[in-house]
Amino acid sequence: MVIGKPHIEEKFRSILEKVSDPEIPVLTVLDLGVVREVIATGKKVDIKITPTYSGCPAMDTIAADIAMAFEAAGYTTNIELILAPAWTTDWISSEGRSKLEAYGVAAPLSESQDKRALLDGERVLKCTLCGSTNTKMISQFGSTACKALFQCQDCLEPFDYFKCLK
């Protein structure tokens, strides 16, 4: 079983940095934290990835894209989808969080703040365009299962929020 910190051989990072999430293309699979283990035996690489959400339709594409990137670098791959430990939004790198915000998707809040924003209708989430926290939840589910839809009440920008998953 793979625990908290992923085990990725250093030389493979540059390959993985070229593989992005098909639904949020500014994030690489490393930013997202879905690659849990990469271990090579000669030219054969064993890779373990974990899904964000069980039904995430991007996982098959991500696995195929990783396989292609490694093949282009001269390796063969064996990719395994693992479920434990379960992915959490805490695994999104700090770089990934900044990229998300710049892309217009608000990064996950802490678990308690997330609850306040989603359940109690409190205005704690920062607008990705103007930075105001005068924001309102429009829908608990957004364009994908991992996001909710918010709207800024000052600049009126509608934006996605990447929900906290713990």
């Binding site: 899904p51 959400y53 069980s54 039904g55 995430c56 339709p57 479920l83 434990a84 430990p85 379960a86 992915w87 959490t88 989603l118 359940l119 429009i138 829908s139 608990q140 589910f141 957004g142 364009s143 994908t144 299962a145 839809l149 929900k163 998953l165 713990k166």
Partner: protein
């Protein structure tokens, strides 16, 4: 093959598969865009969880079984979901009522299964639990909103609950397979979940101003593969492609 484990995985997966299918029927038909997206996202979560369960079931079964043969090649009598999840999408209140009852049960079940002695079941439960937390919030909020809304929405929510509530009991009927799995420390203890589930629901109903229906529990045999007349229609749609073009691939 471990027949009991295999059947237990089917029972876990089939409830979510049939409910996921019912929700998928709402794609493009939700009462508004946000609700439409929410319901189909919940459907997607459920199907994702079913995939994990059926992939494991296929491993337990061995041979040429795959997640797809399990979902698409079993006949009605071999599918073990409870009758609650077969109930049609009469109106939005029925969708919410059915979802709410299932979510409360599902959440408690998954909490119990996180402690399963079977590592794969525990991992799937742990993953699913995080998702079902959101489902439960969504259906619970709507239950309250409809019950506390206009006279019309209140009546419809009550009517939906009156219809769905008697089906809840079947989830707690303990089959031989479930008893065996519980005894092995693999499955959940349904008697514990039952008490908790009814306590939570009755409390929510009281807060929302809904009457707890007095109708006695329905005697249902979904867990034994005996379904209502609605099931044939569900399967003819769910399994259409594989029945018409066996082994087709996207």
């Amino acid at each position: 093959m471990d027949v009991s484990l295999y059947k237990y995985l089917l029972m876990l997966g089939d409830n979510s598969m049939i409910l996921g299918h019912r929700l998928s029927e709402l794609c493009g038909h939700g009462p508004n865009l946000e609700t439409d997206i929410a319901l189909t996202n919940i459907s997607l979560d459920l199907f994702g969880q079913v995939r994990s369960l059926f992939q494991y079931a296929a491993k337990v079964k061995g041979g040429s079984a795959t997640e797809d043969t399990i979902a698409f090649s079993r006949t009605e009598r071999e599918i073990l979901n409870v009758i609650l999840v077969e109930q049609p999408n009469e109106d939005f209140a029925h969708v919410v009522g059915r979802q709410y009852l299932y979510d409360i049960y599902h959440f408690l079940l998954l909490e119990a299964l996180v402690g399963s002695k079977d590592e794969t079941i525990a991992a799937i439960a742990n993953k699913s639990l995080k998702e079902v937390k959101y489902h439960k919030r969504f259906s619970g909020e709507w239950l309250k909103r409809l019950a506390g809304g206009t006279d019309e929405s209140q009546q419809r929510m009550q009517a939906a609950i009156d219809h769905m509530y008697p089906f809840l009991d079947e989830l707690f009927h303990v089959t031989e397979v479930e008893e065996e799995m519980r005894a092995q420390g693999v499955g959940a203890d349904l008697s514990v979940i039952k008490a908790e589930c009814y306590a939570i629901i009755d409390d929510h109903f009281r807060i929302a101003g809904l009457q707890v229906p007095e109708h006695p529990p329905r005697v249902s045999k979904g867990k034994y593969g005996i379904h209502t007349e609605k099931m044939g229609f569900i399967l003819s749609e769910l399994q259409f492609m594989q029945r018409s073009y066996p082994n087709m691939q996207w």
